[in-house]
Amino acid sequence: MFTTIADLHQTTPISSQSSLLLSLIVLLPILGALILGSMALWSQPREQGLSEKMLGALGTLTPALSALLALYLFAQQLGQPGLQWTANLGTWIKVSLFELSFGFMMDPLSGLMTVMITCIGTLIHLFSISYMHGDRGFARYFACLNLFLGAMLLLILSDNIVGLFVGWEGVGVCSFLLIGFWFSDAQKAGAGTKAFVANRVGDFGFLLGILFLFLETSHFDFAGLQAGLAETPESRLAVIAFLLLIGALGKSAQIPLHVWLPDAMAGPTPVSALIHAATMVTAGVYMIARLHFIYSQTPSISLLIVLIGALTALMAASIALVQNDIKKVLAYSTVSQLGYMFMAVGAGAYVAGIFHVFTHAFFKAALFLGAGAIIHALHHEQDLMKMGGLRKKLPITHLSMLISCLAIAGIPPFAGFFSKDEILWSLWNEGLYLFWGMGLLTAGLTAFYMFRLYFLAFGSSYRGQAEISAEPLLMKLPLLVLGAGAVLSGFLGLPAVLGLPNWMEHWLSQVFGAHHVAGNMGLALMLMGVSVLVASAGILVALKKYARLQSAPAAATGPLANMLHQKYGFDLLYDAVLVRPLRRMGTLGWQIVERLMIDGAITFGLWAYKVAALMLRQLQTGSIRAYGHYLLLGLTALAYLYFTLHLPGVFRP
């Protein structure tokens, strides 16, 4: 089921080449963020400053430059297999035990991710110019988005795990800032906090994992880690793998840390497309793939990953069935698709996992941007029940979303079909039939809820009141490009089992080692047929139920629907078991421990002192006769003491 060290042995010799351009890819967006951020601070109170066009162009410029640089370096890599770009920006922390630097490394895996992130990032920046038009925080928005991109690229390109962690937390901060972008709404600000704290639970595990990795290997860089872990016993590796996995679960919104992602939809829609669909949330998958040398040695943890992935995929897909907010449907769909990716990397099919990250980035970004275009056209209406018939009004959005729906549903030859089937095939091949079944069921549900969304938004006739405005050019362009990606990106990974060229497999074998594809071509074809059938069935059911809808259907009722509406009660549970008890403990701890017990003890001490003083004061009456009595009493006592101590026997009878 799992590859061995021998399989991981690199076949192509690696040649490292240093290039300053690599660090520029990371630094440019950060520079852009600094410039835009200062502009935002300077201009906001004065309600003036550069025009939106200038700010938007500036904001898009640095990601675009990064994308060009990434493409350039990646093209070089394509031409020269085994080429690995490196860069070093200097020392970060140098202490007695180690020296850490801001080092970057672009290997085939991070190269692919960098190209994807910068290109999609640029498109989404472009889209944002229209979407955020007229917003007071226009400059602030682009500053945060640029900063996010910088942090994300740091995460991907870092050559050591601490650098990855810096980017990891950095994207978390940007995500917090952008989810709570419209912070005057208390609920949206709260969603940001929730996202950050849930991610911090993950980071807690991640950081512990990093510390223990260092104890085992005395290294932080990936090359050193890989070499240093060769001798480590599996039990220790499993603990480390588990701790790191907690981090991945947080960032990639898997059970039990998935609760933040649906709430994160409070942010502007392009943010959801970039951060909460295409890039940041896939960081967990990337991290596991990057540390494949750990996870391929820990079958128990890998199986746990498959299990969590499968449960998450199925759970999120089922919740998506009843959501009426267009962004919530997409959010749960993202959680569900991330579950697929986890199943893949858990089953040791790292290539399939990364392939799905890649294709998913295109079609999910297109779906979110499409949703953004709809929300923009309908003046911030997000309820699917108040949409309908948008096909004529928003033709480009419709086209792009239709393609993407087909892609995510897994209809050939759209991108999602190839990557999802690769995952299902890997699961079957590893003998994980149960999880294959869960994946297949999820695929059916996915097809259904995505086409429910499609028909509710585009089918039938318009049910809403709001006036529909047209889609601007800056929105059409990214939608078209991403739509094209949703068709074409799948061809990078044609199923090798059918004897077709699988470029993705070939390219990433430099990192993960050659994956021996064994298996029966007929069986593979049959399984594909099954999954296409299931997907088509899902679409057909959606067609029948929602295509000819005239008025909004009644919400489903019954115990199952209630459970789905309650999202299986995770939020309620956490609130009841963690959040509220902790807050109450804080208040009670203060009132009881600090106020009552400690301050109380001091107050009691003071009181006792006063009472004693009051009692002793009674002795000082000022009456000579009383003093005479005290004197007599004292003398008697002294005499008694004297005789007992020095002349024993005097008082003895």
Binding site: E99, S184, F212, G586
Partner: protein, 515 residues
């Protein structure tokens, strides 16, 4: 020449401070003179930073003169990589405190004079190499603090300052007795008197319960000052009642004196007692980390919340001290400065809020970010620094401390790392309630940072970023000094709980591993 610098920065503020107290307040130049002195002192500290050699081992720029010869008490001061940054921190914070409180209404001259005397006390404490001298400066810093809180504090200031003084004096008294007892022990063994810290650490004490008692006697004053749970109860009241700028000095610099005392005096003197009592003390620090964080969650007032967060953070620093290995002590020294920058800055920000709105109660505030973006940005920056987001200064120290702790005990690391979650929870929940959401006081004028207060806060924000990204100027001094400290005082590297999950690390002093 530079050897005199140390004496200069200790006594210049003291002399000027006393002079200013004597001068009639009608003269009116008090603030300017005090500020000039603070600037000079800061320049002196920076010159010392420049002059000190990172490679040298042991104290540098030493001045040593006989003071009370028949008791072996010398006037002996010097600096190394551990004290260096506390010196710079103290002089920087004094200057910033003056900038912040420039437009104080009530007797500003006296206030500034007391700040200068406080600075002398702090600097002397950090630089003293003789126990007796240390004690004198230790007490010197209490005196101005008493007046600063008692005169300029809030409504409940008298109660707060009494609590503060009783706690501190209790610790000091035990400390003095312990010093004298140790001195007599040395005299009994060698026939000579000495109160030199370096000399006393060589003293072999018999492993009796008395030694552990003595250890606790040396630790108590510091544990109170840090403060380590459960000796912390003076802190929230004091921090809330003291004027913001005094809280800034208390949390930023004074709390670090406790850590420094443990690091410099208590643990080197009693390595064996640390081995015996270390586990208990470590568990107390863990209790403090979690207790402080949970109580911070329950606070309804910003200053009190920050006070409890300070208890939690200092718990982590104290844990690093008791772990006593290379990485943890390096982390402690770094984090002392980092924590001062972040928490000190946050207390000043809370002070700005109190000036403007007359309250720091969270339920009476809200939505400040909408009309005061600069304030919100700075507050968020310091918040992220304080909760240890990497790239800002808090992370570096926290990471090093946790790395050190993890080589001693996995269980303690796990518990200590909970601060990652809890600190994010209470700080972000705080900002969510008072910075964000709908505006609570829309009729109130928007919050503006006065220029001089901004000038006090901005350097801290800048430092938070610089110390997060460019650590070399700091660590190149810290690392050799810590190596020196650990080598000369080979305490038990492994204290802690029964079975650590992992066998600890590569032995302490190895050649640095690049990675």
């Amino acid at each position: 020449m530079s050897a005199y610098l140390l004496n200069l920065i200790i006594f210049l503020p003291l002399a000027v401070g006393l002079l200013l107290l004597a001068l009639p307040s009608k003269l009116g130049l008090h603030r300017q003179i005090a500020l000039g002195t603070a600037v000079l002192t800061l320049l002196g500290s920076l010159a010392i930073w420049q002059a000190s050699n990172p490679e040298a081992s042991g104290l540098q720029l030493v001045t040593r003169m006989a003071w009370i010869p028949f008791l072996g008490i010398d006037y002996h001061i010097g600096i190394d990589g551990i004290s260096l940054f506390l010196v710079v921190l103290t002089s920087l914070f004094t200057l910033l405190a003056m900038l912040y409180s420039w437009s104080l209404d009530q007797q500003p001259g006296r206030f500034f004079a007391l700040l200068l005397i406080l600075e002398s006390g702090l600097l002397g404490t950090v630089l003293a190499a003789n126990l007796f001298l240390f004690y004198v400066f230790w007490e010197l810093m209490l005196l101005p603090m008493f007046f600063l809180i008692g005169i300029w504090g809030g409504a409940q200031r008298i109660k707060a300052v009494l609590k503060f003084v009783i706690y501190t004096m209790a610790g000091s008294l035990v400390f003095l007795l312990s010093i004298l007892y140790l001195g007599t022990q040395y005299q009994a063994q060698t026939g000579q008197w000495s109160f030199e810290i370096a000399v006393l650490t060589q003293l072999q004490l018999p492993p009796t319960p008395m030694v552990d008692l003595l250890f606790l006697g040396f630790a108590l004053a510091f544990l109170i000052k840090v403060p380590v749970f459960p000796l912390h109860t003076w802190l929230p009241d004091t921090y809330c009642e003291a004027p913001p700028v005094v809280t800034f000095m208390l949390s930023g610099v004074m709390a670090k004196m406790g850590v420094y005392g443990l690091l410099r005096i208590t643990l080197p003197l009693f390595p064996d007692s640390l081995a015996r009592l270390g586990p208990v003390l470590s568990l107390l620090t863990i209790a403090g980390i979690i207790y402080g964080a949970i109580l911070a969650l329950g606070q309804v007032e910003i200053k009190r919340l920050l006070a409890y967060s300070s208890i939690s953070h200092l718990g982590l620093i104290a844990l690093g001290v008791f772990t006593w290995n290379l990485s943890s002590i390096e982390g402690v020294v770094y984090h002392m400065v980092s924590h001062a920058v972040a928490t000190g800055g946050l207390f000043l920000m809370a002070g700005v809020l109190e000036n403007h709105y007359g309250t720091t109660r969270i339920d009476q505030l809200g939505g400040i970010a909408a009309r005061a973006p600069l304030y919100a940005v700075l507050f968020m920056l310091l918040t992220f620094a304080s909760i240890g987001v990497p790239g800002l200064n808090g992370f570096v120290g926290e990471f090093l401390i946790l790395l050190g702790v993890s080589s001693a005990s996995a269980g303690l690391t796990l518990l200590a790392a909970l601060t990652l979650i809890l600190s994010a929870a209470y700080m972000l929940w705080l900002t969510q309630r008072f910075l964000f959401g709908p505006e609570a006081q829309p009729e109130h004028a928007p919050l503006r940072l006065p220029v001089l207060q901004l000038a006090a806060i901005a350097p801290l924000c800048l430092l938070a970023i610089i110390m997060g990204l460019y650590t070399l100027p700091f660590t190149q001094h810290i690392s050799p000094a810590v190596q020196n400290l650990i080598q000369n005082n080979q305490g038990p590297v492994q204290v802690m709980l029964p079975e650590g999950y992992f066998n600890p690390t590569p032995s302490p002093v190895e050649k640095p591993v690049h990675g």
